[in-house]
């Protein structure tokens, strides 16, 4: 049994596996299947200042080895999260990353400020949601905006601040550097890639929002590349995600430079995916005689 624990900006995780924001709600639904304490952490559904109803349906489309979603940040608002969901999650013996978003930098800061008074472990600031009109990807695709929103949120909270980056950019390294300079304690990547599917019988986009965010195994090579580039360019830790569906994938992303790994769409294919991934990682490490998963982080040897 290898030591699977990791530490990301001062927070201890019993293992590196975290269900990604948006696929796991606030944990209650999957708790019917397994105890949440099997997980290293949970990234909660993107939460905003006020309740949001999200986009019209259809919000989901399938793609080769992946999917599109255009949920559009439906959520009950941060007050509900703090009063009802967070206290429950905090009893579950796993790290809680509160994923937050907002239409303006000030709104993001206000949400973060509310969390600052709670016992939440980390804040994951989503500056990369492709499914909302304001904020979202607009923040994540400009270095200036990314820096500004990070700075404002930084000022609003002393919690470890993870900024979640968009892959829909020319240089994710530049964005990562700019949020690092603005005070982020870590970055997480990748959010979804903007995609589209059309029903050729009706000639309508399958998603009511026309376009949506692509995730799942299809995007894994892009995640590996971006994690590798960013981990080599910044001094803060990187939380990796994008298409991870097996222990081997998680190991690969950690070798590329991730200190912890989030799992999204794979959970829809197999709800036990995060738990199995933990087991598979352990098997791999044992088979190689590696005693601690920390020893593989960033160990890829480029040619």
């Amino acid at each position: 049994m290898a030591d699977l624990s990791v530490n990301v900006c001062g927070i201890d995780f019993k293992n590196p596996i975290i269900p990604a924001s948006g696929v796991f709600g606030y944990g209650r639904e999957y708790e019917e299947l397994f105890p949440l304490n099997k997980l290293g952490g949970i990234a909660t559904k993107g939460t905003t200042l006020h309740l949001r109803t999200g986009n019209l349906a259809p919000r989901i489309a399938e793609t080769p080895a992946g999917m599109l979603n255009s949920v559009g940040l439906q959520n009950p608002g941060i007050d509900h999260f703090i009063s009802t969901e967070l206290p429950y999650l905090l009893t579950k013996d796993l790290v809680v990353l509160a994923n937050i978003a907002g239409s303006t930098p000030d709104e993001c800061a206000e949400v973060a400020a509310k969390l600052d008074d709670t016992d939440v472990h980390m804040i994951e600031l989503n500056i990369s949601c492709p499914n909302v009109k304001q904020g979202g990807a607009a923040f994540g695709t400009s270095c200036d905006m990314a820096g500004e929103v990070t700075r404002k949120v930084r000022q609003a909270t002393k919690k470890p601040l993870v900024v979640k980056l968009s892959p829909n950019v020319t240089s994710i390294v530049d964005i990562a550097k700019s949020v690092e300079a603005a005070g982020a304690d870590a970055v997480s990547l990748i959010n979804t890639l903007l995609g589209m599917r059309i029903d050729i019988n009706t000639r309508r986009p399958i998603l009511r929002n026309n376009v949506g965010g692509m995730s799942g195994p299809a995007v894994f090579p892009i995640a590996v590349r971006m994690v590798w580039q960013v981990a080599n360019a910044v001094d803060i830790p990187v939380i990796g995600m994008g298409g991870v569906s097996s222990g081997r994938d998680a190991i690969e992303l950690m070798m590329a430079g991730a200190s912890a790994v989030q799992v999204g769409a794979a959970i829809f294919t197999d709800p036990y995916a995060p738990v199995k991934i933990v087991e598979e990682m352990n098997e791999f490490l044992d088979s190689k005689g590696i005693t601690s998963v920390k020893d593989i982080i960033g160990t890829v040897a480029p040619w």
Binding site: G22, V23, F24, G25, R28, E29, Y30, E32, L33, K45, T53, G54, N55, L56, A57, P58, R59, I60, A61, E62, T63, A65, G66, M67, N69, V71, Q74, I206, G216, P217, A265, I267, F268, T269, D270, P271, Y272
Partner: protein, 256 residues
């Protein structure tokens, strides 16, 4: 709420119409807790998303569920390749099913096309108290009529082209029944325009109506918020989720 994910043996497989298959699946722990109107979420090898399929039969004694599905695309085609004896990966039972009240003495069950299967467990419960109206494109698409008759329910068959049963839509016999002999409840599943028409007729007649909706799904259990449906409760608009709050909704709550 309670659901399980597991690999279950297909006890029997039958092709019941062109591109339509019936599976009986041995899954005692699921059958034990399943209710009419719920669905199962099936993994299709090679595909990221599971496929939601209604429960068409629950045999708690034998510990089996029955599903009936049509090949509509690649995922259902892959599932249709499974054979008797193979394992099927299901997350089930899911969703909020039909409200079944012992007080109901007369109910109408309406199924349109591949929306017919979820009506069968209701027919089994209500038996002679139920009238089942089923509508299909044409004679070759007709399914489950003998099953309905075996429950003791009255079975009225309609086809769009008149090639079997009554020529016309299910709303015609429904109109007649609503005026002639007002039921306690109407339950329906099928294409949206049909459900909309049924809901309007029931509203006019003041009859309680429940409908089963479809939406594209990811998680199937209410976590991803993918399968939104605009509803209203207590005069407030509310984005419900087909997989958790539904698939069965009170027709009055749905904002079309």
């Amino acid at each position: 709420m309670k659901y399980i994910q597991g690999n279950y043996i297909i006890a029997s497989k039958e092709a019941i119409a062109r591109n339509i298959y019936s599976f009986t699946i041995s899954c005692p722990e699921v059958a034990d807790i399943a209710c009419p109107g719920q669905f199962v979420h099936i993994r299709a090898k090679g595909y990221t998303l599971r496929r939601p399929i209604s429960i068409c039969g629950i045999d708690k004694t034998k510990g089996t569920l029955r599903i009936v599905f049509e090949i509509r695309g690649e995922g259902t085609e892959e599932i249709s390749r499974l054979n008797k004896g193979d394992l099927i990966d299901m997350l089930a039972p899911l969703g909020h099913g039909f409200t079944v009240s012992e007080k109901f003495n007369k109910v109408i069950l309406i199924g349109g096309g591949i929306g017919t299967p979820p009506m069968l467990p209701l027919a089994q419960i209500f038996g002679e108290k139920a009238t089942v109206i089923s509508g299909f494109r044409n004679a070759s698409a007709v399914i489950l009529q003998d099953d309905f008759k075996r429950t003791g329910a009255e079975a009225i068959l309609c086809t769009d082209d008149g090639s079997a049963g009554i020529h016309g839509f299910v709303t015609e016999p429904l109109k007649k029944l609503l005026t002639e002999d007002k039921p306690d409840a109407v339950y329906a599943c099928g294409p949206m325009p049909m459900l909309k028409g049924i809901a309007a007729l029931c509203r006019e007649s003041g009859v309680y109506c429940e409908i089963s909706l479809e939406e594209r799904m990811a998680c199937g259990i209410g976590a991803c918020l993918g399968c939104a449906c605009r509803t209203q409760r207590n005069d407030e608009e509310y984005f419900a989720h087909v997989c958790k709050d539904g698939p069965v909704f009170n027709a009055e709550e749905v904002l079309w």
